[in-house]
């Protein structure tokens, strides 16, 4: 019986092999979804033509004319009712089966997937690569099964790659995952489809499908941005990517934590009454041991980044925060900064 069902599968095949009118070009050579889509499209169109065709025919043939009365016909017929009950049951049965089989293929990741992690927040995607690199866009090697393990930092988002026919919500407080195999190198859209607030429609990213060599070369290079970018620029990237921006603004507005604007070199009053100069050491300590000294008026809610950021990362962040004070007319960089460890900040 399933063999018979499988032959129906191929009804949609001629359509699926070209970039159809209805679906965007696929990045995969095995878009199981497309066949089911076109199968349903064919069935739908035929059924629609049948119903509306009959309706129009009756409308013309039996329109009200002077002198013609409605003819008496049977008011029920079990055989007819059974026919138009059973035939739709069979049709939807076929569609369900096809959809289910393709869905299970889409759900079951093959062994040996290349694993990437995805973190979503309002309103940006972060793709976390095996070597710890975090990027705004998704780069994947072509021809290999890739699995994304995703979670959200705030509200529910939805990851959709139309060209790969995959979509999955990204939910806070749990992991969801999708897998796919992109065969055709190129750039494809990645969109957020679960409504997530003001900038929902700009929460977009690009999927770069690259050959394995290109991918490896890119990843190696991309992970080195600390070395290739000026420290303050690299720090800015880190600030965006590591979630600092959620609590610390750069425009002076107080968030969950103090703003970074113009704080460097200033003296701040702490919750316990002491005054501390915001310098390299204070920033370093605040990243690694956030509870040690809390600026007055803020809650001790930051969690430690010990083990999560490298020394170079911290240096870059310090440079970034420093750069935010340079713009301040009130405060030029002071010399109270202790550069004792003399790390490669300058060039």
């Amino acid at each position: 019986m399933f063999a018979a069902l499988d032959s129906i599968w191929h009804v949609g095949l001629p359509f699926a092999q070209t970039d159809g009118f209805w679906l965007p070009g696929a990045a995969t050579t095995d878009p199981a979804m497309d066949r089911v889509f076109y199968l349903i499209l064919v069935i739908c169109s035929l059924l629609f033509l049948l119903v509306v065709g009959l309706m129009t025919f009756f409308l013309v043939r039996y329109r009200r004319l002077p002198g013609r009365k409605a003819e008496k016909t049977a008011t029920q017929n079990i055989l007819l009712e059974a026919t138009w009950t059973v035939i739709p049951v069979v049709i939807v049965g076929v569609i369900f089966y096809q959809g289910f089989v393709a869905y299970m293929r889409m759900q079951t990741a093959p062994p040996g997937c290349y694993d990437l992690r995805v973190s979503a927040r309002q309103w940006a995607w972060q793709f976390i690569y095996p070597n710890g690199h975090i990027d705004d866009n998704l780069h994947v090697p072509a021809g290999e099964p890739v699995r994304l393990t995703m979670t959200s930092e705030d509200v529910i988002h939805g990851l959709w790659i139309p060209a790969l026919r995959v979509k999955m919500d990204v939910v806070p407080g749990r992991y969801t995952s999708v897998w796919f195999r992109a065969d055709k190198p190129g750039a494809y859209d990645l969109l957020c489809t679960e409504y997530c607030g003001d900038e929902h429609s700009s929460m977009l990213a690009t999927v770069e499908v690259q050959t394995r060599e290109d991918y490896d070369a890119w990843l190696k290079d991309a992970a080195n941005y600390l070395k290739t970018l000026p420290p303050a620029e690299a720090g800015k990237l880190l600030y965006k990517r590591r979630g600092c921006a959620q609590c610390h603004s750069t425009d002076g507005t107080a968030g969950t934590g103090p703003s970074f604007l113009g704080i460097f070199g200033k003296s701040q009053k702490m919750a316990d009454g002491r005054s501390v100069i915001i310098d390299d050491n204070y920033i370093r300590e605040s990243i690694l041991e956030p509870q040690a000294k809390i600026v007055a008026g803020y809650q001790p809610v930051m969690s430690t980044y010990k083990g999560l950021v490298s020394d170079d990362d911290i240096t870059a962040l310090i440079e970034f925060i420093k750069s935010l004070s340079k713009k301040s007319p009130l405060r030029a960089p002071t010399h109270s900064v202790d550069r004792g460890e003399g790390q490669g900040v300058g060039k």
Binding site: L23, R64, E81, V89, G99, Y103, K167, P172, T193, S201
Partner: protein, 553 residues
Amino acid sequence: MDMMVSSPTPPKSYLVDPPGLRSWLLTRDHKRIGLMFLAVISASLALGATFALLIRTELTFPGPTIVSTGHIYNRLFTLHGTIMIFLFIIPSMPASLGNFVLPLMLGAKDVAFPRLNLASLYLYVGGLIFFLLVLVLGGVDTGWTFYAPYSTSTAAPVVLAVVGVFILGFSSIFTGINFLVTIHTMRPPGMGWFRMPLFLWALYGTAIIQVLATPILAITLLLLAVERTVGIGIFDPALGGDPILFQHFFWFYSHPAVYIMILPAMGIVTEVICVFSRKHIFGYKFIAYSSLAIALIGFLVWGHHMFVSGQSPLVGMIFSALTFAVAIPSAIKVFNWLATMYKGSIGLAPPMCFSLMFIALFGIGGLTGLFLGSLVTNVHVHDTAFVVAHFHYTMAGGALMGFLAGLYYWWPKMTGRMYNLAQGQISAVLIFVGFNFTYFPQFIVGSRGMPRRYFDYTRLLDTHPEFTFYQILSTAGGFLFVGGLVMVAFVLLRSLFVGRKAPANPWGAATLEWQCSSPPPHENPPAPANVGDCYVFDDFCFDESAQGYVKVP
């Protein structure tokens, strides 16, 4: 018992008896309550349609068009959705048309609990006020689905909106209880269950959903409000809650709710097709049972809104199978309607125009539902403009067309005035053409990659430059569609001033509401001792002098 004095002057109509504004505001007469419901519901429709046009205009061109930010746009589509669903479609047919017609069709003097009925109206108005308050306070931006944790974290006045919907839920439950009890206990002797007009079966199915599903919505919204104000940690993942649980709660109501919207429309279409084809309904029992089947199976398919939410594949499979099961009763209805038209004498007055439009548009809506019921295709089109097109084909192309068919059908009975039939037909053509131009392009852009709830699609144009063309088409259609709706209002309101007096039975229908004067007297006439088959039209002949049908013995 009843004194049937054949007086020379017919009894005064319910519209003027008893007189006075106070008698209207405190009335317990289902006809007046139905009419007042019609007025407030039409106002909500106008409000919802205004938001729809704003959304459409904004989307015409990429980038900001008439509103500057997504912040405003998100409020527009949320208000459009919540107003259209909770304030318009759900109460549209049961509370206004159903309220007016149900007791008359049964030959009952009123619904079982007239005071509850009036309370339902005032609760509706209360809910409406909450929505206006939300509007004044800047609107909500959660989408009509109120998904947590966005709804628990946004700065918008979500609690107000949620309380508004909560109140509207009670209004809906009261109507449902009233209809169930009236149909159960107040059918006249001689009208067995299978002698009832099929519109009543549809309302019965609707009422079952209203009383069974709405309480779950009520508790969901209550919990959401408490989650927002106190933070009990049931839905909010930051407090250890489960946001998917919220979706289960929400859709357990909101999927059956689409059948609250569509079942009465199907009932209206059934009545209209018989009357205007001058044919006995084909397959009475199948249509009646299919109403019940839709009402009951409709409860078990809610998870098809959640195929990509993180729901387990096992549960997804169950929901997909059940979703396909619920398609069958709808198909049965359509085929029975076609069989009814066969060899009939089909007249194309406005109610019939809208009923035929219902079949065509709901046909597209239902058939595209197959893409959404099927697991694998759902993944691709979920949360895209394809879904937007699908549910507008079912809700606007289905429920709204059914509502308009019913409105045109019962308008002479409700107001005692005939409208201009040709103008009514023109409004139907405008709506049909406008509707398809509005929503068909959305299927195309949706499956090609246009998500729903997108303020700006500029960045999609690199890969899809054709989107702008379809959006322009869609917006032009939208204005035509709303123009058609304005014309409906014009045709109907004009009839109040220049329309000729409506005969008792302008369409030659055999159900009981057409056997009394138009508009009916304050006191509904009692049901005849022997209620006949309400789908036999042989005895009704067109009488030129009355411009309506009269019964010949």
